[in-house]
């Protein structure tokens, strides 16, 4: 049951989601929003993986997507815990103000 939608559309959508995530990561200063942006990037990549898998008939891409999801879940858990700890320590989530590594 091959769909009529060509592969390039999927890839374009995937690229758009990834880019929104990347830009969010670069531009936003709130750590929580940055985490969400990172989530977008992961899902953009996932979409590309699944699309390729579908079009090439290779199930390896699907499996990879599942791994990425599991990884994303772990990342969210640890990342949010870190954000919480950072907030407790610095009383802010603004990354521009959390710049201890400033040489």
């Amino acid at each position: 049951m091959m769909s009529a939608t060509p592969l390039s559309w999927y890839l374009l959508l995937s690229f758009a989601i990834f880019s929104i995530g990347l830009l969010g990561l670069l531009i936003r200063r709130n750590l929580v929003v940055m985490l969400m942006a990172m989530e977008l990037m992961l899902n953009g990549a996932n979409l590309a993986l699944v699309a390729y898998a579908r079009f090439r008939g290779d199930e390896a891409g699907q499996v990879m997507a599942f791994f990425v999801m599991a990884l994303a879940a772990a990342e969210a858990a640890i990342g949010l815990a870190l954000v919480l700890a950072i907030y407790k320590h610095f009383k802010t989530l603004d990354v521009d103000r959390i710049s201890r590594l400033n040489g």
């Binding site: 990347l22 990561l25 670069l26 531009i27 200063r29 940055m34 990354v95 521009d96 959390i98 710049s99 201890r100 590594l101 400033n102 040489g103």
Partner: protein
């Protein structure tokens, strides 16, 4: 004679090693006292065993081969023979009484347990020194007692002056210890890496080349004697002992009168077999001793601190002991050491009792009239005063008279010099009697010069009284051990150890002997009477007029000949200048500036550019990653 193994020796030494500075007061006092008393008990047992054994028996206990190589053979060995037995009994016996006394004297001190643990550490090291079977073990004890002495002089370390006195004692002793160490190393070199007393004695008697070379022996003996000079406070290193009086009085009595300072005399007696091969060194020993005996006695005349008078008296009396061993009369030196331990410990403890009663008043000009208030202290102090002045039949008479006789009749290549030393000793004996009478009279007799302090004075508790009475009793009867002539039990006892090396004095007629004895008594009595005549009216009467009429000389003596100031000028100031140079130029400029700061600045300067990339902003790093990935993508 083959030495026997004797397992009681380490027990004697290790018992006093018990102590703890965080213990409760009562527990610390009970345990440390029990430890030292038991050590005395075991020493008595060992002594009794030795007494009933074959004459000249030596008990050895080889604990552990400390260093065993091709070049060195040194064991952690202990040796209990007739000489160390005497020292062992004196050390543990006097320490037992002083421990007992301290339970009363130190009552209420904040660091009661610390005091007893340090005191016990001292006894441990002293026994190590006395019982060591070779010079290395002896040296370990030698350094250990120095450390304990430092800790106890500066016991009240919050007081800067006392802390400084402790440091002075330590530093001055280091000079002597250095001599000891060099002498020991020379012996190690000549004697194939062994400094065991048996091996050394064989070596000294072998007549082999290094021994036959008198210069070598003289150098070795003088280096070792330098150690003795430091430890036993002789000219020129005596300056630490008077300052050491900053420590608690039981410490002054135990360490700085009865035991530690005897180490030098003991060492010379122990190494008598070396010293007899170096007549020049012997003459130096005797000369330093005689000079110190007279010199310190003159300083003692004008001191006003009760403990300082006794300190200079100690320095002076150790001079007599060195005069004796220098004249080759080793047993006489040891005998005086023993009697001195009794009466000087008693005097110090009596002084401590007075200081205790007067709430830390030490100035004899503020005392007077204490005889009725403190009967026990008074009587024991009087007995010891008479003993030290050499009044028969008290112990000091026998020992001091013997020393002067042996100096007068010494068989030596330098008879004239020894006659001069004898004259020094005799003059010193007069001064000793004089300043002791002055001390006694100003403290206990006459009218009280500080009514308030006198009002509150009280006799000390039983623990202090007991120690005083027992020591005074020992000071009274110890003379029996050294009756002149055939009845001299003490020199008979020591004969197997030092007898072979004792230089037989010139034969003298009975008449001369009796004349010398009579002269000693007359000198002592004259000193006492002169002291009484001048000081019976207190410090302000005749005494003050004499002091005024001899103006500059009196000031010279009262200022201790300004030796401390002289040392300050010729030793301390140059050292401080060198230290200042090292600090300001070497340390500040070369090391701090050129060695550390300039390279640091250079590295920091180079780092300015790369630092700009590290602004600590997460988004900047992120951008760098993205740009990097894009670059890679483009390139690939």
């Amino acid at each position: 004679m083959e030495p026997k193994l004797f397992a009681a020796i380490p027990v004697i030494i290790l018992l006093p090693a018990i102590g703890g500075k965080r213990w409760g007061d009562r527990f610390a006092a009970v345990v440390t006292n029990a430890a030292v008393f038991s050590s005395f008990g075991v020493s008595l047992y060992a002594w009794w065993y030795l007494r009933n054994d074959v004459e000249g028996m030596v008990y050895l206990y080889k604990l552990y081969p400390f260093l065993k190589t091709d070049l060195l053979n040194i064991g952690l060995d202990f040796r209990f023979d007739r000489l160390s037995a005497v020292m062992c009994l004196v050390v543990t016996g006097v320490s037992s009484l002083i421990h007992l006394y301290s339970t009363g004297y130190m009552k209420g001190d904040r660091s009661y347990a610390r005091f007893f643990s340090h005191l016990n550490m001292f006894v441990f090291f002293m026994l190590l020194l006395v019982l060591g079977a070779n010079l290395v073990v002896m040296f370990a004890g030698w350094e250990g007692v120095g450390l304990s002495s430092y800790l106890l002089i500066g016991f009240w370390y919050e007081d800067m002056e006392k802390a400084v006195a402790g440091k002075k004692a330590f530093v001055v002793n280091r000079i002597g210890d250095f001599g000891f160490l060099l002498g020991m190393l020379m012996l190690l070199m000549y004697n194939h890496g062994s400094v065991d007393f048996f091996a050394l004695e064989r070596f000294a008697n072998s007549g082999m080349p290094p021994v036959a070379n008198e210069l070598n022996m003289t150098v070795i003996c003088l280096l070792l004697f330098l150690g003795a000079v430091g430890k036993s406070a002789q000219i020129p290193l005596y300056v630490w002992l008077p300052d050491a009086m900053a420590g608690p009085t039981p410490v002054s009595a135990l360490i700085h009168a009865a035991t530690m300072v005897t180490a030098g005399v003991y060492m010379v007696a122990r190494l008598s077999f070396l010293f007899v091969h170096a007549p020049i060194a012997m003459a130096v020993v005797a000369g330093v001793g005689a000079t110190t005996a007279l010199f310190a006695a003159t300083i003692g005349l004008a001191q006003t601190d009760i403990k300082k008078v006794l300190a200079y008296s100690t320095v002076s009396l150790f001079g007599y002991m060195f005069l004796a061993v220098g004249a080759g009369a080793f047993a006489s030196g040891m005998f005086h050491l023993t009697t001195h331990a009794f009466f000087k410990a008693c005097l110090f403890l009596g002084a401590g009792s007075v200081i205790h009663a007067l709430h830390h008043q030490q100035d004899i000009r503020r005392m007077g009239g204490l005889a009725r208030k403190m009967p026990v202290t008074h009587i024991t102090f009087l007995i010891s005063t008479l003993a030290i002045a050499g009044i028969p039949p008290l112990s000091g008479f026998f020992s001091k008279d013997e020393i002067l006789t042996s100096a007068f009749l010494a068989s030596t290549p330098f008879p004239t010099a020894f006659k001069v030393f004898w004259a020094f000793g005799a003059a010193g004996a007069f001064l000793t009697a004089f300043y002791m009478m002055r001390l006694y009279w100003l403290t206990f007799r006459g009218t009280p010069r500080d009514a308030h302090a006198h009002e509150h004075a009280h006799e000390s508790p039983w623990s202090m009284g007991t120690a005083l009475v027992l020591l005074a009793a020992a000071a009274t009867v110890a003379g029996v051990l050294g009756l002149p002539g055939e009845g001299h039990l003490f020199s008979k006892w020591l004969a197997p150890v030092v007898g072979k090396y004792t230089l037989e004095p010139h034969h003298a007629s009975h008449l001369l002997h009796w004349a010398l004895i009579g002269l000693s008594v007359a000198i002592g009595a004259a000193g006492l009477i002169a002291g009484w005549l001048i000081y019976r009216s207190g410090p302000d009467g005749v005494a003050a007029r004499i002091a005024a009429s001899t103006g500059p000389m009196y000031r010279l003596v009262a200022g201790k000949y300004f030796i401390d100031e002289l040392y300050g000028l010729i030793v301390v100031r140059p050292l401080k200048a060198v230290a200042a140079f090292s600090y300001k130029v070497v340390d500040k400029i070369f090391i701090d500036l050129l060695g550390v700061n300039v390279p640091a600045w250079a590295v920091k300067g180079i780092g300015v550019l790369p630092r700009m990339f590290h602004d600590g902003n997460l988004r900047t790093y992120m951008l760098a990653v993205v740009v990097g990935v894009l670059c890679l993508w483009v390139v690939l």
